[in-house]
Structure formats: structure tokens, C-alpha cells
């Protein structure tokens, strides 16, 4: 694919929830690592929003059905959509289930212009989901990144967003910089760095001199700067290339177990990705084709802007195999062939490191142990921290499953040198309660302590009461107000307080919706 071509991005932001098959009015949410990633319209009516924690969502709606994310289920439900889209154009790229990209030029010629194409698409796609779910965000623009941004605008506005070729700068200048990370174009820590420098809107980034941006932020900054100027085009020497690297796994004895297929493919995926990496490139699109003994075939092109590690490729194979075998009648025999092709590669700009080389014997031993632990835990998890740049000592890193990231990529945990403005200073608490312990904070006359909208306390806290009894507060500091997800319309306000109790223990307590809880303890 050449650069800057007209591209359509379609994204159902609630797909993980709607794929579960419950009616839209039922309050349902899908979570990853204790955070909501998608909510049903029924849940949204209770004021529950994406990004919220499980506990706080349950407080708003005790009947909320909370389900862990299952990409294979999402993909199985998404297959009919992919079938409909394949009638429009063959080259559909799957970012994840419910999020796809396709070239606009061919089909829009066929259907008499982009508007006509979108109208037709809207009709066809609406038939595939029960009434009550919101329509997908649809964005059309020059290039992938701008069309992804247009799609976010479309989700917010509730109608398709068509950005004319000459109109891209107007689209982007008012958008938050954080959206670039949201669409995977820049790392999250780049956004938090800009935030610290006071650059919050893409227009502000665009107004900087390109030479300053490059010297300060390197290639990532240059790419972000071009996008902020509405130019979705990488510099000439870094264009996305078509690639011919491919690996194949052909077996004589058909494999009947889905997890065995995934396991058998593991080594091939590692070989493919290290082959691409050896030439200093990152694979951004991989085509996964699986064939059975009876010549049944499942084929998808998976796209990931940040680049695909071997683990990410293996994940996608797993989702695809699982989704395929879950469709009734789709698979009648064992798998005999798996083919992985790196369809598109681009030069590695340093966003993805450590894919190969530099492994010590200790690293190898630990990686093997991680694989083994992953196979052993049932109902638990093997996880590693990744930097997410939150403001509180509780969410600056988040835990992700160890098999979804590149374990040897030290950049995943890299922290900014300086903390966020408004961040609580060191020391950080050693115990972060997974479910904050609800407590009451009382003043000297036994009245509950409240924090006003302006971040002032109604009276000094005197005692902390929990299930086990009451302890006196001998010292306290704060409150530190906290506005999470400032770019989201549903801003949640909370404040934090450090307290030292008469047993010499120190805690971080937070108030939200007038409920105090011990969020963390300095143990």
C-alpha cells in the first residue's frame, strides 16, 4: 500500500461487549486488568464509562455483568462482518475484532463516490447487529492514521467523518495529543512527556518548528508532528514496504487440538519476526492462513501500527484458530497447514526493541520458566508491568499477561524522568489494594469528612473506621485532587490523602462519590 491513500477505518468501540450476545439494555462490561474496556448502552445509562475500575463500576450498578476479555469470542462474532466486507473489497485489514481498515478508492469508484459507499456500508453493517447498539465509528481520510483519528471523531459525533484530501489540518488541530497514542501511532510515554511540556492539542504540536521536534523527540516526534499537520505520510526512506517474508508449517498428521496448533506455530512465528528484525524492520501486517485436511481455510490479515512481536503474532493465531473452531460446522478435520506472511514491514524507529539478540542465559531460563508458569496457572495469571503513565502511585504501571508482550523489551517499563504535575511524590506505597477497602473518615466530633469540588476538606480528619474498628489519625497530608482521563467527557473526580495512624502504619486513602477507601498502604 502506498502512503496517504484514501482509507476507511471502521470501529465498533463496544464490540467486546456486543460480541457476548446479551441484549444492549442489559448492563454489561468487559474488563482487562481490572479496568473496563467496553460497556453496553445499558451500563452507560448508569454513568459507567470505559477506563473505570471494576469496583467503582459495581458501586454505580451492583447488577453489572462483568466479563473478562475474550478476543477469540469477539472474532467469532465478527466473522459475518468480515464476510460482508469482503464483498466490497478484498484487502480488509483486521486491527482487532470490531476494528478494521480498508482502501476506499476501489469500492468508492464502484459505488459512485465515498458518500454513496458509506451509505451502503451503513445499511449492510446495521443488519449484522441487533438494534440498540450504537453504530460503528466510520472515518475516511488520506492514510491510515488520519482515518483512525477521523474514526474517533466519528464515534464522538455519532456520524461518519469524511475528511477531504485538502482538509486534514482542520480535522486534527483541535484533537488531544493523547489520541495519537490511542490509535497506536506513538507510545503513551511520548504523550505524557508532551503533557508535561504543556502540549495537549495536536494544533499546539503542529505549531512547533519541525527541526526542534526532531532534535528533541527523534523519529517518533517527527512522525507525530507530521500527523499533527494533517500529513499522513512517512518520510521517503521509512515508507511501509510490501514484504515477501513468509514461513509455513506443514504437518503430515493433522492437528486436532487448537492449543497444539498455536504451540506448533510458536517457533515459526519467532523465526519470521526475527528474520524481519534482522533487516532492521518491524512487521506491521501479518497474514495468517490456516488450512485443514478437508481444505477448509481461514485467512486474515492482521495489522498493528506499533509492530507485531512474535508473541503478538502467536496471539493472533490463537484468536483466529479459536474463533474458527467455535463456528459450528466451519472445521471438520485437523489442521495440516499454517502459513504466516509478513505482508507489510517498516523500518524500526526504536519503538520496538529487544526482539532478538542480547539474551543472557538468565534471560533464557526466566523466559522458559514464564512459559511453564503460564501453562500451570489456572484461574490466575502470569503478568508483567508495562508503563501506562497514570498520575497516581496506583496506575503509573499496569499489569498485562506475560505472553502478550515482548518480555525482553525493557522499553515497556521505561518511566519518564520526571513525575506528572500533581503526582504524589515518593515514597510510593508497597501495598496497592486490588479492591480498595471501604472505610469512614470522621472528624473530631464524629462527623464524616468530605472533600469539596475545589479540593478542600470539610474538617480535619481525626479517626479512620473500618470493619475491625477505629484508629486515630495522628498525621495527614493532602488532599491531592485527581481528575482522571481529562480528555474524556465523563470526568471522574477524586482526591487522595496520606494518613498515619496511631499504630504507626501509613496509608493512602481516596474519596470518590463521597466514599472513602484505603487505596494503598506503605508496608
Amino acid at each position: 500500500m502506498t502512503v496517504g491513500v484514501r482509507t476507511i477505518t471502521i470501529r465498533w468501540s463496544d464490540w467486546p461487549v456486543s460480541a457476548l450476545g446479551h441484549p444492549p439494555e442489559r448492563p454489561t462490561a468487559v474488563i482487562v486488568a481490572n479496568r473496563l474496556i467496553a460497556v453496553s448502552p445499558g451500563a452507560a445509562e448508569f454513568g459507567i464509562s470505559v477506563g473505570e475500575r471494576r469496583r467503582s463500576a459495581l458501586r454505580a450498578c451492583p447488577d453489572l455483568l462483568i466479563v473478562d476479555r475474550d478476543p477469540a469470542l469477539e472474532l467469532a462474532a465478527f466473522e459475518p462482518v468480515l464476510e460482508v466486507l469482503s464483498e466490497y473489497v478484498p484487502g480488509v485489514e483486521l486491527v482487532e475484532p470490531g476494528h478494521i481498515r480498508l482502501p476506499a478508492r476501489g469500492p468508492s469508484r464502484l459505488f459512485g463516490g465515498e458518500r454513496a459507499l458509506l451509505d451502503r456500508l451503513a445499511v449492510d453493517l446495521a443488519e449484522l447487529r441487533p438494534a440498540g447498539w450504537s453504530p460503528p465509528g466510520v472515518g475516511v481520510a488520506d492514510g491510515r492514521a488520519l482515518s483512525a483519528l477521523a474514526t474517533l471523531v466519528s464515534i464522538a459525533a455519532g456520524r461518519p467523518e469524511v475528511v477531504p484530501s485538502e482538509g486534514s489540518p482542520e480535522l486534527v488541530s483541535g484533537l488531544p495529543v493523547a489520541w495519537l497514542a490511542e490509535i497506536g501511532e506513538v507510545p503513551v510515554d511520548f504523550v505524557s512527556l508532551l503533557d508535561r511540556l504543556g502540549i495537549r492539542r495536536l494544533g499546539e504540536l503542529a505549531s512547533l518548528a519541525p527541526s526542534d521536534v526532531v532534535s528533541r523527540f527523534g523519529p517518533v516526534g517527527l512522525h507525530a508532528h507530521r500527523l499533527a499537520n494533517g500529513i499522513d505520510e512517512r518520510p521517503v526512506n521509512t515508507v511501509v514496504h510490501e514484504s515477501t517474508s513468509a514461513v509455513e508449517l506443514a504437518v503430515d498428521d493433522p492437528i486436532h487440538d487448537a492449543s497444539a496448533v498455536v504451540f506448533a506455530v510458536r517457533e515459526r512465528a519467532e523465526r519470521l519476526i526475527s528474520e524481519v528484525a534482522a533487516s532492521g524492520r518491524v512487521c506491521v501486517a501479518v497474514r495468517v492462513a490456516i488450512e485443514t485436511e478437508h481444505s477448509e481455510r481461514s485467512e486474515h490479515c492482521w495489522y498493528r501500527e506499533e509492530g507485531l512481536s512474535a508473541a503478538a503474532v502467536i496471539d493472533r493465531v490463537r484468536w483466529q484458530v479459536d474463533a474458527w473452531t467455535r463456528r459450528p460446522g466451519a472445521v471438520t478435520s485437523g489442521v495440516v497447514l499454517v502459513r504466516l506472511a509478513a505482508e507489510q514491514v517498516r523500518p524500526d524507529e526504536g519503538s520496538q526493541e529487544g526482539l532478538w539478540g542480547g539474551r543472557s542465559e538468565r534471560d533464557e531460563a526466566a523466559l522458559r520458566a514464564v512459559t511453564r508458569l503460564t501453562s500451570l496457572v489456572e484461574g490466575g495469571a502470569v503478568e508483567v508491568p508495562v508503563w501506562s503513565g497514570g498520575r497516581s502511585p496506583v496506575d503509573r504501571h499496569r499489569w498485562v499477561p506475560a505472553d502478550t508482550v515482548d518480555l525482553l523489551d525493557a522499553a515497556r517499563v521505561s518511566r519518564d524522568a520526571a513525575p506528572w504535575p500533581g503526582a504524589l511524590p515518593a515514597p510510593a506505597p508497597t501495598v496497592v489494594h486490588r479492591d480498595p477497602l471501604e472505610v469512614r473518615l470522621l472528624d473530631i466530633s464524629g462527623e464524616p469528612v468530605l472533600v469539596t469540588g475545589r479540593g478542600e476538606m470539610s474538617s480535619p480528619p481525626h479517626e479512620l473506621v473500618d470493619r475491625t474498628g477505629s484508629r486515630r489519625i495522628v498525621a495527614w497530608a493532602g488532599p491531592w485532587p485527581l481528575h482522571e482521563r481529562w480528555w474524556s467527557p465523563a470526568v471522574r473526580r477524586s482526591a487522595r490523602l496520606q494518613v498515619v495512624l496511631d499504630d504507626d502504619s501509613a496509608h493512602l486513602v481516596a474519596v470518590q462519590r463521597r466514599q472513602w477507601s484505603i487505596e494503598a498502604t506503605y508496608g
Binding site: V251, D252, D253, I255, S259, A260, F263, A264, S360, R362, D363, A365, A366, R368, A369, V370, T371, R372, L373, S375, L376, V377, E378, G379, G380, A381, V382, E383, V384, P385, P393, V394, R396, H397, W399, L407, A410, R412, V413, R415, A426, P427, A428, P429, T430, V431, V432, R434, P460, V474, A475, W476, A477, Q498, V500, D504, A506, A520, Y522, G523
Partner: protein, 242 residues
């Protein structure tokens, strides 16, 4: 072509003879070779002085106790991880990762294992698997550890030459060294003033292999999150301030 399944073999039941005699991937031989050259893992000099010249001896289990148990366990492992060891954190689901990073322990070699609710047996299986590949294992037993399981863990710890750090009560695990903390006092915070800056605490080492039961007065965490030898208090302890 048959599918290799070495890593997906069933978890080793603890009743069967220990696999230490014939481990996979030749780790055993590497482990033994390593043991010959490096008997200890690097440790913070303050704690090292407390434990005697040997520091964190491979194959040993260390219990960290008292009100600053977690900070102690993190401080004791930070140097080794900074110098290339991997650490598994098993069954300490609520570990504050920022505190770990502030203590100078690089997060890229930290893996957290959440054992689920399957009890001590499942936890012990995970312990054994973690000790196979991680030089440091930070854990907290979910219940009383029966003697056969404790012995299996001990044997694996010895043969793999790793280090086991237990937070709180060892609950039946065999312990070589105990690092206990007592008398905590927070500094820098008052009634409505300042903020938490550092905590002074007394750390005591005891155990079979510790010749002199020393005591050290330390800041844990210190004002930068790391362990520091105690300095003059930056402000009065809160007891006198109230």
C-alpha cells in the same frame, strides 16, 4: 511431524520423585557451575553488612518480618535484579509496583504470578516452576505449608541456587535468615502539614547462618524510595509533633 510438547507437559506432582535429578534444558549443570563461581547474589551494602560478609547466599530462604516487611524484601532483592537477575513475585498480588521501581529494582525483569484460589498445593507447584528459572522468588504462602511441600521447595531452592524471600510468616517453610523490622516512625508529615517523606525503622538479622545478630537503623523507604543508612531526622518524628 509430531508436535513437541515439553513445555506443556503436565505439572509435576509433588508426590513423585523430584525432577532435580534430570531437569530439562540442562539448567542443572549451568546452575551448578554458577554456584561454584558465585556463591552469593549482590545485595544492598547496608543489609549486606547486617547479614555478614556473605550477603544473600544462593540456595537460602530469607524471611522478612515486621511492619516494613515488604520494603525489606524489595530492598534485599533490588541490587541482584539491577545486575541481571530475574525476580518472580508469587501470590503477592497487591504489590505496589511503583514502590518496587523506586527502590531501584528494574521492572523489566520482574514477573508477577497470581496463583488463583487453588490453595497451598498449587502455590507450591508454582514455586517449584518459578525457582527453575528465576534467581529470586518473592512470595507469601497462602496457608500452612505441609512438611513434604516445604522439603520439595527447599530442595529445588538448593539445586537451582536461587534465593527465596518470604514476606511475613513463613508458615512452615524452612528459613535460613530472618530480617525483622521494628519501631517504625514516619517523618515529614504532620497534622495537615508536609507529606510522607521517609520512615525510620530498626532492622535486625538473625538465623543459623548469621554469626552476629546485628541491628541497623535505616530509612526504609528513604526520601528517594531506596533503603538508606539512617540519617539525622529531617523533621521531628510525628509522635513528638502531635
Amino acid at each position: 511431524m509430531s508436535i513437541p510438547n515439553t513445555s506443556h507437559s503436565a505439572p509435576s506432582a509433588l508426590g513423585v520423585p523430584p525432577r532435580d535429578a534430570a531437569p530439562p534444558h540442562g539448567i542443572e549443570r549451568l546452575g551448578a557451575a554458577r554456584l561454584a563461581t558465585e556463591r552469593t547474589l549482590p545485595i544492598d551494602p547496608v543489609l549486606g553488612a547486617l547479614l555478614g560478609a556473605e550477603g544473600l547466599v544462593r540456595g537460602q530462604a530469607v524471611a522478612c518480618r515486621g511492619p516494613a516487611a515488604r520494603s525489606l524484601a524489595i530492598a534485599a532483592s533490588a541490587s541482584a535484579v539491577a545486575l541481571g537477575s530475574w525476580i518472580a513475585v508469587l501470590g503477592v498480588d497487591d504489590l505496589g509496583v511503583e514502590a518496587v521501581a523506586d527502590a531501584g529494582l528494574p521492572l523489566e525483569r520482574l514477573v508477577r504470578v497470581r496463583p488463583g484460589a487453588d490453595g497451598v498445593r498449587a502455590w507450591a507447584d508454582l514455586c517449584l516452576a518459578a525457582l527453575d528459572g528465576f534467581e529470586l522468588l518473592l512470595t507469601c504462602p497462602p496457608g500452612r505449608v505441609p512438611a513434604p511441600l516445604a522439603t520439595a521447595i527447599r530442595r529445588r531452592l538448593r539445586s537451582r541456587a536461587g534465593c527465596l524471600l518470604v514476606i511475613g510468616d513463613p508458615r512452615g517453610l524452612e528459613i535460613d535468615v530472618e530480617l525483622s523490622s521494628a519501631g517504625p516512625s514516619w517523618h515529614g508529615i504532620g497534622p495537615g502539614t508536609g507529606r510522607l517523606v521517609d520512615r525510620h525503622v530498626e532492622v535486625r538479622a538473625s538465623g543459623r547462618r548469621v554469626h552476629r545478630g546485628g541491628v541497623a537503623s535505616v530509612s526504609l523507604p528513604g526520601c528517594d524510595g531506596r533503603l538508606r543508612a539512617a540519617e539525622v531526622a529531617v523533621s521531628d518524628p510525628i509522635r513528638t509533633a502531635v
